[in-house]
Symmetry: C2
Subunit: 347 residues, 2 copies
DNA sequence: TTGTAGGCGTTATCAC
DNA sequence: GTGATAACGCCTACAA
């Protein structure tokens, strides 16, 4: 019924050479005369031969499969996370690797052990990294090669690609300062994200604090639930605390909507009365809002690609010394929309 | 350095049984006495044994890996697609399968052959299905088990889970008719999506046409590029053609923003002067707009899960007769937002 | 109920 | 340069 796929031995017979010669011809592990190689290639062609990945992996100690570890956060993944994944998948494919999408919950470290113990993957790319991440510890001691999108507090010799939150927050503030704002608030992710040490949340908070101080700015920061209502409430509270605030930096796509609602309620228009700069929001999201949000757009796809490339670099030099890790911080790109404008003269 | 993982033979020795007994105990292919089984389990536990997936696959003819085939459309994937993927990955994990994320471009059928020929996957789940889809043909004749999220014009005996566009468009129209609208337009995806036979585009067009006729409605439909500008232009044209139009059904997250801009320009307010119902848009998107869009939210995660389940059903009964396919159409859920209201009395 | 042996399709280590 | 032939780790008739 279903044709049985040709094996290497079939190719060998047809080309009238030994099985091993075919293998060597295939992955150039040893010199093969041009004519022999030609015959082999022709035989493969005619038979429609495809090497069996499983057998290769079993015998060769390399599966060409890597895993993308992404814990599903409370309320689903966003556009940015999707772009990590597609970037990673793309890069993997380009290098002849397969990418397994592994929804590894933080809680069940067990599942991670399962995955790594199966001998199925050559390495892993860890997403949604926390300041102190169990998965990272596990991979480390399991001796599984891996790299990260994001980073722990002490990345050591692990390769990673992360957003440069220090610079990103600084850019956001400089943009606003350039527009004359002197009192700027910051709306971050949820308290729970902060307390579990979610990297972006923690680093953006630090970055903002530092950048605001450096700019000699009056500022106020606040964690905020990932919902419209929370954003609305947070704005009102911030305003109560700091009535002279004229702009807000927001890293929370849900909450920012609530902020705009709140502004509407009190009759303030954006950007005439108040400015908003979104951080690490995809333009795919900010372009849906009115006014279109000014954002510092993260290089998501690139981060995904980079993460994979770093991992593969490591794998390719697995034999020999452990290759110095690549650690990269990428800046976000300022995309000026209609939500940021000159500070109002007075209030 | 790195501890060598225990093999089945190690477990056998430690439990003082034959290698095969361990194997049978593991996958219950044959009865094993309780005491023996206990000893074996204890030995596995103590050794931290994990069966090698590659070896299992090679010998057993089942890899427990499936592939998710998703061509990356022109301008990236949206939230809905991400939910397909996470739903699928979740379901796969629950059933002990791994999910390979395979960005198979439509153009390079070659890559698909590569993937299937490697003997790596047990089956595939096809996303972004077109009315006439090369990948489907290929999988069919390659004898690879697969199911679809979406469907071709002639699914035959292939299992699929798809959105019920017929019902969805009808629901959209009924919602508007219930509000008194008598002239309703439809803004679809891009012309190119239609011309290549992208399922949702084609089926929603048909569905809308039929539902509008059935409702005795004046209506007008139009394809529209996936951009704000295109949406804006399209609205103006529709209005020129059909000045009495009081509502629009839109299946195009980018364009809908343009429509709202256009309404703003001419001073029409939503929903007082004009109503909008979005189709197959995630609430994650519609909730960012002001007013919040009324939408028919697709059961994306569920579709992903269903697709995987169907595929696995098929795999489990691969031996024996070919199990009748499961073919399911799921409705979207009407989520009323602030973009749809009573038809204006006059204009 | 338990044990034995022959694959599964490659890679890699030997000789020649 | 090229050929045999062990592994790789597990599954599964087949025999006991």
């Amino acid at each position: 019924m279903v044709a049985v796929p040709p094996r290497m031995i079939d190719v060998a017979k047809r080309a009238d050479v030994a099985l091993s010669t075919v293998s060597y011809a295939l992955n150039g592990t040893r010199p093969v005369s041009a004519s022999t190689r030609r015959r082999i290639l022709r035989a493969m062609e005619e038979l429609g031969y495809r090497p069996n990945a499983l057998a290769q992996g079993l015998a060769g100690k390399r599966t060409h499969i890597i895993a993308l570890l992404f814990p599903t956060p409370e309320r689903g993944l966003g556009v940015t996370e999707m772009e990590f994944a597609t970037g990673a998948a793309d890069a993997a494919r380009e290098h002849g690797y397969h990418l397994i999408l592994s929804p590894s919950e933080l809680r069940s470290v067990h599942e991670l052990e399962q995955l790594t113990g199966q001998g199925l993957i050559d390495g892993a790319l860890v997403m949604e990294v926390h300041i102190d991440d169990e998965r990272v510890n596990l991979l480390r001691q399991a001796g599984i090669p891996f790299s990260m999108i994001g980073r722990t507090s002490d990345p050591g010799a692990i390769s990673y690609a992360d957003i440069d939150f220090e610079q990103t927050t600084r850019d956001a503030i400089e943009h606003l300062v350039g527009l004359g704002h002197r009192s700027v608030g910051f709306l971050n992710h949820s308290p729970s994200a902060y307390s579990v040490g979610y990297g972006p949340t923690v680093r953006a908070a630090e970055g903002f604090r530092r950048a605001a101080s450096a700019a000699g700015l009056a500022h106020l920061e606040r964690l905020c639930g990932d919902s419209v209502a929370a954003g609305e409430a947070a704005f009102h509270e911030l305003r109560a605390t700091s009535p002279d605030m004229t702009a807000l930096v927001v890293m929370n796509d849900r909450a920012v909507v609530g902020v705009m609602d709140a502004l509407d309620e009190i009759g303030w228009r954006v950007p005439d009365h108040f400015s908003i700069v979104s951080i690490a929001s995809s333009t795919q999201v900010t372009e849906m809002m009115r006014p279109k949000l000014t954002t510092l757009e993260p290089p998501s796809t690139e981060l995904g690609r980079l993460g994979v490339r770093m991992l593969l670099d490591q794998l390719d030099t697995k034999d020999g010394e452990p290759l110095s890790p690549t650690q990269v911080l990428l800046p976000c790109r300022l995309v000026v929309g209609g939500s940021s404008g000159p500070a109002p003269a007075s209030r």
